[in-house]
Every structure is written in structure tokens, then in C-alpha cells.
């Protein structure tokens, strides 16, 4: 009876641990630069990777205007003009995920950046022709984030 109970307990533990595997779908990095420095590095890195910064949403400004206390929190949207037009036309379901974005927020004198791995979009949109697109976005994103992480 005891071995069976142990086995069932293990099964339960494994089942409960399974959802944690989803967590590596997020990317989060810390920059030693302050918020303004990290924001500049991020925008430069996005441009250097061949993307265009579409806009920066100032989330903290909206919150503070309504009386909420918050540190600096922005969302940077970016994309490539040609790719954008092509993808939006051929894969309209992808549009709610465009432009790509990165959240950037202050933590004291350092800065955190977070976003999802573009490759997880492959689970949502399994079309074979999209696979290399997501792979390229992920490679570019990792390079962008690494530049921000390493900047001092």
C-alpha cells in the first residue's frame, strides 16, 4: 500500500509542477543602467537590429495622473515596415501581437526589461512560413536584450 501511496503522491507533485514549465516563455533582464540610460540603450539596440521604434507608451504617466504611486514604467513598441505589411496582410490573426513590445521599468537605480519569447507565438500560429519569422524575432530580441544587459 505504501509504495502505491508514494507513487500517487509523486504523480500529484509532478502534475502540480508541470505548469511551472510555462515560465521560461518570458524573458526578463536587469540592466545596471538607470532608467533613462537603459531606455536610450534599448532604443539604440532596436534600431541597430534593423527595427523601427513605433512609439513609447508612458504607463507611469497615466497612472500618476490618476493618483497612483508608481516608478517609471514604459512599453516600447517596434517593428519592421516591410515585414509588418506582409504579415498583417497574410496572417491577420497575428495582428493583435503587433507591433512587438518590450516593457521597461525602474527598480531603484537599475532597470528591468520584460517581454515574451517570440518563439512562443509559434505555438499560437503554427503556419510553417511563420516559423523562421518568429525564430528571427527571437534571435534579434535576445541580441537587443543582451546589449541592454551588458551596457554600463
Amino acid at each position: 500500500m505504501k509504495p502505491l501511496r508514494h507513487f500517487l503522491t509523486w504523480l500529484m507533485v509532478l502534475a502540480l509542477l508541470a505548469p511551472a514549465a510555462h515560465a521560461d516563455q518570458m524573458l526578463i533582464i536587469r540592466s545596471g543602467q538607470d532608467f533613462e540610460g537603459a531606455m536610450l540603450t534599448l532604443q539604440n539596440a532596436i534600431s541597430a537590429q534593423g527595427y523601427k521604434v513605433a512609439r513609447v507608451q508612458r504607463v507611469d504617466v497615466g497612472l500618476e495622473a490618476r493618483g497612483y504611486k508608481t516608478d517609471k514604467y514604459r512599453v516600447v513598441f517596434y517593428g519592421k515596415p516591410d515585414e509588418f505589411a506582409l504579415l498583417a496582410g497574410k496572417h491577420p490573426q497575428l495582428m493583435p501581437f503587433l507591433p512587438l513590445n518590450i516593457a521597461i521599468f525602474a527598480e531603484a537605480d537599475q532597470t528591468l526589461l520584460s517581454t515574451n519569447r517570440p518563439s512562443v507565438l509559434g505555438e499560437f500560429f503554427p503556419a510553417a512560413e511563420l516559423k523562421p519569422v518568429f525564430a528571427l524575432w527571437e534571435k534579434d530580441l535576445l541580441e537587443i536584450l543582451e546589449k541592454v544587459r551588458e551596457a554600463r
Binding site: T9, M12, V13, L16, L17, A18, P19, A20, A21, H22, A23, D24, Q25, M26, I28, I29, R30, G32, K52, V53, A54, R55, Q57, V59, G62, L63, R66, Y68, K69, T70, D71, Y73, V75, F77, G79, P81, F84, A85, A88, P92, Q93, M95, P96, F97, L98, P99, N101, I102, A103, I104, F105, E107, Q110, L112, S114, T115, N116, V120, F124, F125
Partner: protein, 347 residues
Amino acid sequence: MRLFATLLLLLALVPTLQAQAADGARLYAQNCAACHGENGSGGIGVPLSLPSFHALTSTDHLRKTIRLGRPGRVMPAFATLADAEVDAIVAHIGSWNPGSFATYAATRIDGNIENGGKHYQKHCSSCHGANGEGGKGTGVTLSRPRDQAIMAPALHNAGFLESTPDLRMKAILTQGVAGTPMLSFLNKGLTEKDIDDLVAFVRSFEKSPLGKSDVGQALPEPVLSVESPYDLKTTIANLKRAAETNNFVFIREQSLDEGIAAPGKENLRQHIVYVCNFGLLAQALNTDPRVGLFLPCRFTIVEHGGKVTMMASNPKRLSQFFNNSELAEMCEQLTKMYQTIMEDATL
């Protein structure tokens, strides 16, 4: 001769140990520093460099924690790291304090679960939650007070229970964790027997897993989509009105490719409407500051082949990236709000 051989072996090991330490620093910076701080001072994650944490933690606890994470509590499971990489990270964390980590036998502590439960409700539940679900939020960031070094960990959590032997729980309860709100319960008047009962109570969480598991359930669709019976302009106007009726503030409307396509070349049949419920936003950011992926709340409206469709990424599906049960509940609520807004816009 034996001494010489030992010295030779030690000399041979030095470069390996140095390489491991260097590798550990790099791996820590890549995988852990974002949440736990560059030098382990904490942030979204717990402060790993606290001397008291070092003194109460075993290498086995750290290894298992890295491997298993804390399901539903932000700390991910690093399943793809090699054993040597996990060991290098553990060695790096160990290098911040003098002395070695603690060691604990796997001995199970017998205790009176009922009595432990009473003590739990009296002394522990205010920080660790009535059911051991842990403190709210994710640590010291954004509007949270920065003098708070740690959020109370979830005890009723498969990752915690699997990685924490009874004797470590007992040591923490007995000694407290200096530099955190966790006090010594011996100093607070509990007896060693009471502490054993508390450990037995926490261990009993294993028999009653908390929350629902996603295992075996169909994943929600990644995109919420509703076809509109109206033209593009009317649909956008309806959507703005529906958002405001449902307590969202209209932020802005733009073509999907604004800022990316050359000015004047934007595709005017693809629009985004940004809206915000600031109360919900503040709550979400306090629950998990990584939530920018959703921000601001937005709807994409597209005219294609004579049809107008409203779309939004599905927060319920995206919440599965975050390993945060508290956020997942909020996202489920947000999905319902999005659906209501889009349906209201078609009326």
C-alpha cells in the same frame, strides 16, 4: 608521497573551480539577476545574499528550487539548465557569504497536525496566507515599499514542499531569518513541540494540493475575435463607447503600422484602439510588474474583404507565460471584459 598526490590533485582542481565560479556568475547574471538582484539583494525575487538565508539554506534546497521553481509564484522551473550549470549558480550564490551552506537530513518530523494548524492560523497566516498560498505580489518593486526585503513565500506549494526538508523548516521557525519579517518562534513563546507540530502541519499541505492544475485542460485560444456587422468607422466608434461603458478610459486610436510605415503610407484599414482601466492596471502591476506585455489594453480592428473584425490577444492565454496564479485570475477577468466590450460594440 600521498601528500604530494593530494597537492597535485588540488592544483589540478583550481582552474576547474575558478571556471565554475566564473561560469556561475555569468549564469546567475543571465538567469537570476533580473529578479534576485545583481548581487542577490532581492527585488521581484527573494534576497539570496542575506547571511541568515545562507546559514539556513542547503545546496540541495537551492538545486531543487532552481529545477522545480515555485508553480504559480513567478519563480520559474529552469528545466533546461545542465546539472553543472545549476551547481555553478549554487556555488556563485554560496560565494557571497563566508562558510558553507547548511546540511539537512531528510528526516520527517512527527507532530500533531491539528495543533500545528492552530498555531499556523495564529502566528503564520497573516503573512503566508490562510491556506499557505504566500504573500500577495512579487516583491520589492514599483510602488511597493523598498524597505520590505521579502514577500512571505508560499508554503502550500509543490516546489517549496519538494525542495524544503522538515529540518530546514524547523530551523527557520526556531531561529527566524534575520533581515526579513520572519521571526524566531522560540523567542515568541512557542515550544519545540509546537514548532514540530507546525512543521507537520505545513508538510500535510502535500496531501491537499492548492489550486487548479492546467494539466489535461484545453488551452484557451490566443486571439479573441468578434466580427462586426458595421463598417470600420462605426465599429471603432462603437468599440470606444463600449470600452467606456465597461469602465475603461479611451487612450488613443491609430493605424496598426503608425510609426513603422512611412508617414502617409499607413494602412488605414487596420487600426488599434488603446484603452485602460487604471485601477485594474495598478493592481496588475503590483501583482506582477512583468505584465507590460498586455499594456496598454488594446483592440485591433481590421477591414478585410468587406468584413470588419475586432481582435485582441487573449489575456487568459498569455497569463500562462507568467507562472503567477494571482495574475492568472486577474487575466481571466480581463478576458471576460474584452469579450463583453467587443460584444457590446456589435449591438
